[in-house]
């Protein structure tokens, strides 16, 4: 019987490792250790074994059963491993490029605008939007622009025909014409007319000039204009803000200077130059970057704010211009062509 037991193990050792499927193993399990299996059959012969040998023989049967079970487990484990392996595809080549699309990209104008928004947000300026189709009142009259100012010329500003109707853009003055806004300052007027001071707003957006398209001019471009209205706002507050904004955007080495200038809706008015030799393609010592000034009392009077109580400043810059300077882009048209080799350079 001892020989029969070891022959059984030997047979299982020969058979099980080559069984290909789970059912084969299950069938083999029944044959070896099932109720009708060979081991059970041998166990039934225990009665023929002399009594004194039974304990040893019992132990031997147990060992045989464990050995067979281990062989069956191994066979199942092997089959499971094969099954998992079969789920895998061919071996990878980690150097093959992914065929999936390259990551999406944000447009450089968005990157610059959002960075400026976030810099300004830290000091309390939030974004206000306004319509791109405006009326003469919001774009010119309310900003102290004389009736015969060249900026109003049909030569410089796009107008809609007199019969155009824009139900969402109410005319403030009867018979005034609709136009495409030439700056986002119109949003400041809307905000002031709608709300009460204090105001701390920034209006980024698209503006239009009737210009010949070339490396530095575009029929539409983007501006970012800020307005702060409060009590006791001073020139040095304005300088402090723009120092902060431009150094945050372009680096702490950036130097900022104010040059007196003229704008119809600010007094005093300044042009802002910056000196940032670390920027690409900046080869002049001072580069003009934006305009600003203290809100002209006439503008406050026009929107019904008491100019003896309220004061404020406004500033405006071209987003394309800043982006061109930051990234060293030499032609404004790149922004509007959307060549992927351009778009993918910025993130």
């Amino acid at each position: 019987m001892q020989d029969q037991l070891s022959a059984l193990v030997t047979k299982a050792e020969a058979e099980l490792p080559s069984l290909p499927t789970r059912p084969d193993v299950e069938a083999a399990k029944a044959r070896y250790i099932g109720p009708k299996g060979e081991l059970t059959g041998l166990m039934k012969q225990m009665g023929t074994v002399p009594k004194e040998e039974r304990p040893a023989m019992g132990k031997l049967i147990n060992q045989t059963q464990m050995a067979l079970q281990a062989l069956l487990d191994t066979a199942l484990a092997r089959i499971e491993a094969n099954e998992l392996a079969a789920q895998l595809g061919p071996a990878i080549d980690p150097t093959l490029p992914s065929p999936d699309p390259l990551p999406g990209t944000r447009h450089p104008l968005t990157l610059v605008r959002e960075e400026l928004n976030s810099i300004l947000r830290k000091v309390g300026f939030t974004v206000v939007e306004g319509p791109e189709v405006e009326t003469e009142y919001y774009c010119f009259d309310a900003l102290n622009t004389p009736v015969d100012h060249p900026a109003r010329d049909a030569q410089d500003t796009f107008y809609l025909p007199p019969e155009a109707t824009f139900p969402n853009v109410a005319k403030k003055v009867p018979n005034e014409k609709y136009l495409l806004r030439t700056h986002t300052s119109s949003v400041q007027i809307r905000t002031m007319l709608k709300g009460e001071p204090p105001i701390r707003m920034v209006s980024p957006g698209r503006v239009y000039r009737r210009d010949t398209v070339d490396a530095t001019h575009s029929a539409n471009f983007h501006q970012m204009e800020g307005l702060y209205v409060d009590k006791n706002v001073t020139v040095s507050d304005l300088k402090a803000l723009l120092d902060y904004v431009l150094k945050s955007l372009l680096g702490a080495d950036t130097k900022v200077r104010f040059r007196p200038h003229y704008f119809g809706y600010t007094e005093p008015s300044f042009e802002v130059d910056l000196s940032a030799k670390h920027l690409p393609k900046v080869n002049k010592e001072w580069v003009e970057i934006m305009g600003c000034g203290m809100v002209d009392p006439a503008v406050f009077d026009d929107v019904g704010y008491d100019s003896s109580v309220w004061s404020g400043y406004a500033f405006g810059m071209g987003i394309e211009r800043i982006a061109m300077m930051m990234y060293g882009i030499d032609d404004i048209r790149y922004f509007y062509q959307n060549d992927l080799r351009f778009l993918r350079q910025f993130s």
């Binding site: 699309p101 999406g104 928004n117 309390g124 020139v235 040095s236 040059r259 007094e267 203290m294 080799r341």
Partner: protein
């Protein structure tokens, strides 16, 4: 405007100041220096004044002459020089480059043989000496300097020309006196006015000037006319020519040059008539007669209209007032008697005329910006004095004058403490006073008010831009120096305001699309009419047109973002850049019966199928676009699944592929979504290869204002779910959404005591086993109870009810 340093020096002492210092002063005074140019001859050694003694034909060349030229004893007496120029004669004095001279361009003068004849130097043109462009011949020194004089001593001194942009609020600086006044303030130096001697006047000459009349006094508040007889027309003096030339103005003759000179000095344009050309010896300022024409100095015939102001004689218009003189009435070489007419014209009038004629001049530029009527008499006086000095003659009688001469008086009250409160930093009373006085803004009165000082500041007539205290803040800061604004830390109390909903919306949707591997684009708002017509009904295109487009292909407001994106796709394809997806956020303009509404919009395009890659990915299709647009709409609070699909025959068929796109919402809803495939034929026509999916969602800004409701937690069952599948056979035209809706309704009411949790659509089948024109949709019903495990029996019972209901209440056929 260009300014000459030499000229400015007449009125303000600029000695000891470098050009850079002057340029910086101009910059900080508030004027942009656009260029600095040096004029005059470069320093030349061994170039001297010579006189041509003899001129003989070169034996071997028709075009050459052999000259003997005296260059002075110190330079070796007389030189033999071969010369190719033709414009000189014996006795002329010319610049001569001696042996050893080095001319500009590193051109060394050596002894040479020209066609066999020896030449010991070179007679020079202006261009060869780099003093002008004249290369037509030798530079004839008409003022006949001493022979042998080094050429630099014989030529007018070089000059520095500053090209300065004068801001529109400062017409007083459109002249040298004005600019000098600013520099005098900056450097705190004295301003010296030009001296004009009072002239003795002769008897009046009614034959030269009888009448001065102004018919349109509202457009011409002041006009003067002065007759001067016996003038001699000729070249103006070298110093005057040099100054005009330095500023790029071609000297004509002494009279014309004086007109220009005084304009550049005082900013006052003026006109000189040949007295003989003035019919009736009269000058009349009036409106033009409609339909008449006038040939202006530039030899162009100008059509006049009745709203244009002209200067006429007794018979006809002779000058477009303030803009340009007529061809015939001006002074010429033959003039002996002249009438000097000086006027102030209303800005708007000159501007309107200049624009209407498409004609602008130095004169109209100054009138449009405004001249100081109070310095008109002084400028007139100066011009008369210069005429007498340069061209001789005699003033005939009094200057005729028409117009009001209201004395100028203006004062502004300001307190230095208030100025400091506007500036936000310390500028002492004394410094403020110093700045004001430097600009001729004199403090005429000083009083104590409310414990502080208040100044009465007198505003001079040329500074009519100053009339409020805030204007003086700017003047003080300008002269004090903006570089002195101290640095400080920015402060910003929060105002508890959120960014505009549009900005937030664009941020969210673009972040989503970039996460889906889209490239953000920015395209032009203005599109061609043709492109606009592809996306909107014919009747909706015209309202989008501009009144004054600049170029034809940018004539209409865009009704969609897709046109620009397709252009970008095409550009990339033509440049060999494979495109997957592109999007833009921006405004679009949608016209309907109410008018045009400006909407915030998000649009995208997807080039269907990937370009060559080593393994194929699943292609995008309509349903890709659908998921994207649903998500974009959901960000605006619109649940597209619940929204009906509308007829798509609204005029956008040219742009979208028929039967392959859909429309949800329109401007009556306040938003609209359109998505699907773009028209294949049109894309092909545009040169775009491949199929393109697109979607655009537009919404009125006011619809974005509402903030979404905060979500509430919904409890859900922890019990196991049970599924039953059913396939329904229907006509091809049946919409899956409708089936889903009715099956859900039936199943929900059939489930008693537990819930229908979801109905999923997991297969759409056509073909073998189904009749033509039929399709089979397979749905999976998911049931679950809140409190127990469902038994097979109760689920089966419910499912049987569902199938019976489907058979009874719907045209759907349950597929076995």
């Amino acid at each position: 405007m260009k300014f000459s340093r030499n000229w400015l020096q007449d009125y303000v002492d600029l000695s000891g100041l470098s050009d850079e210092q002057i340029s910086e002063a101009i910059t900080f005074l508030g004027f942009e220096v656009e260029g600095i140019e040096h004029t005059g001859a470069p320093q030349l050694s061994d170039v001297v004044v010579g006189e041509v003694l003899t001129r003989d034909q070169h034996p071997n060349a028709d075009r050459l002459s052999i000259c003997s030229v005296s260059v002075g004893e110190a330079n070796g007496g007389t030189k033999r020089i071969v010369c190719g120029a033709q414009n000189y004669k014996v006795g002329d004095r010319v610049p001569v480059a001696l042996i050893g001279a080095v001319l500009p361009g590193n051109f060394k003068i050596k002894p040479s043989k020209i066609r066999g004849e020896a030449s010991e130097g070179m007679m020079c043109s202006g261009k060869e000496l780099q003093i002008g462009d004249d290369h037509s011949g030798l530079m004839i020194l008409t003022n006949r300097p001493e022979v042998g004089t080094p050429i630099n001593d014989a030529l007018p001194e070089g000059d520095v020309v500053f090209d300065i942009e004068i801001t529109p609020n400062r017409p007083d600086c459109l002249c040298h006196l004005g600019a000098a006044r600013e520099l005098a303030a900056w450097f705190r130096r004295d301003l010296v006015y030009p001296q004009a001697e009072m002239q003795k006047r002769g008897a009046a000459r009614p034959d030269l000037l009888k009448t001065l009349r102004v018919d349109s006094s509202e457009d011409c508040p002041l006009c003067t006319a002065t007759a001067i007889s016996g003038v001699k027309v000729g070249p103006s003096p070298v110093w005057m020519q040099a100054r005009l030339s330095a500023l790029g103005i071609r000297p004509i003759n002494n009279l014309v040059d004086i007109g220009n000179y005084v304009m550049l000095e005082y900013g006052q344009p003026m006109h000189m008539f040949d007295a003989k050309a003035l019919a009736g010896a009269s000058i009349v300022v009036r409106r033009a007669a409609e339909g008449k024409t006038l040939v202006t100095l530039d030899e162009k015939e100008r059509q006049l209209t009745s709203d244009m102001l002209v200067i006429a004689d007794a018979e006809r218009s002779v000058v477009v007032a303030g803009v340009m003189g007529g061809e015939k009435s001006g002074v010429s070489e033959a003039t002996t008697d002249l009438v000097l007419q000086v006027a102030a014209f209303r800005r708007q009038s000159v501007r309107a005329t200049s624009r209407k004629l498409g004609l602008s001049s130095d004169s109209s530029y100054r009138f449009e910006r405004g001249i100081d009527v109070h310095s008109l008499p002084e400028a007139t006086h100066r011009a008369i004095a210069l005429v007498l000095e340069v061209a001789g003659g005699q003033v005939c009688g009094e200057t005729l004058r028409v117009g009001s001469d209201v004395p100028w008086e203006r004062a502004v009250l300001v307190s230095p403490a208030w100025v400091r409160s506007r500036l936000g930093f310390e500028v002492s009373d004394d410094d403020q006073r110093g700045a004001l006085e430097a600009l001729d803004l004199l403090i005429t009165r000083e009083e104590e008010i409310d414990g502080g000082v208040q100044w009465t500041v007198r505003i001079p007539s040329w500074r009519s831009d100053l009339d409020r205290p805030i204007d003086l803040v700017e003047e003080i800061l300008r002269v004090h120096g903006t570089a002195k604004i101290p640095a400080k830390t920015v402060t910003g109390p929060g105002l508890l305001v959120e960014d505009d909903p549009i900005a937030q919306y664009n941020r969210r949707t673009s972040t989503y699309l970039i996460g889906q591997n889209f490239n953000e684009c920015v395209t032009y708002t203005l599109r061609s009419k043709l492109d606009t017509a592809a996306w909107a009904d014919e009747s909706a295109v015209d309202p989008l047109g501009l009144a004054n487009p600049f170029v034809e292909d940018q004539s209409h407001l865009r009704p969609t973002l897709i046109g620009g994106l397709v252009d970008s796709l095409r550009l990339n394809q033509s440049r060999g850049n494979p495109v997957a997806g592109m999007f833009e956020t921006g405004r679009v303009f949608i016209s309907n019966t109410k008018g045009v509404q400006e909407c915030a919009a998000v649009g995208f395009i997807i080039r269907e199928g990937s370009d060559a890659a080593w393994t194929q990915r699943e292609a995008s299709d309509f349903y890709t676009a659908k998921r994207l647009i649903e998500t974009i709409a959901a960000e605006a609070g619109i649940d597209l699944v619940r929204q009906p699909h509308l007829a798509t025959d609204d005029g956008a068929e040219a742009g979208w592929q028929q039967g392959q796109h859909t429309l949800q919402g329109n401007m009556a809803y306040g938003w609209t979504a359109r998505y699907g495939m773009l028209d294949l034929a049109r894309l092909k026509g545009l040169g775009v290869t491949g199929k393109v999916l697109a979607g655009v969602f537009a919404i009125l800004p006011e619809r974005l204002v509402k903030a979404g409701k905060r979500s509430r937690f919904q409890p859900f069952s922890l019990q196991p779910a049970a599924w039953r599948d059913v396939a329904l056979v229907v006509d091809e035209s049946e919409a899956a959404g409708d089936m889903l809706k009715s099956l859900t309704k039936l199943a929900r009411s059939a489930a008693k005591g537990f819930d229908l949790e979801a109905v999923g659509l997991f297969d759409v089948y056509r073909g073998k086993g189904l009749p033509d024109g039929k399709k089979s949709l397979a749905f999976s019903l998911k049931f679950r109870a809140a409190d127990r495990t469902l038994t097979n029996d109760e689920v089966n019972k419910t499912f049987t009810t569902v199938l019976a209901q489907v058979a009874a209440k719907t045209p759907y056929q349950v597929r076995s």
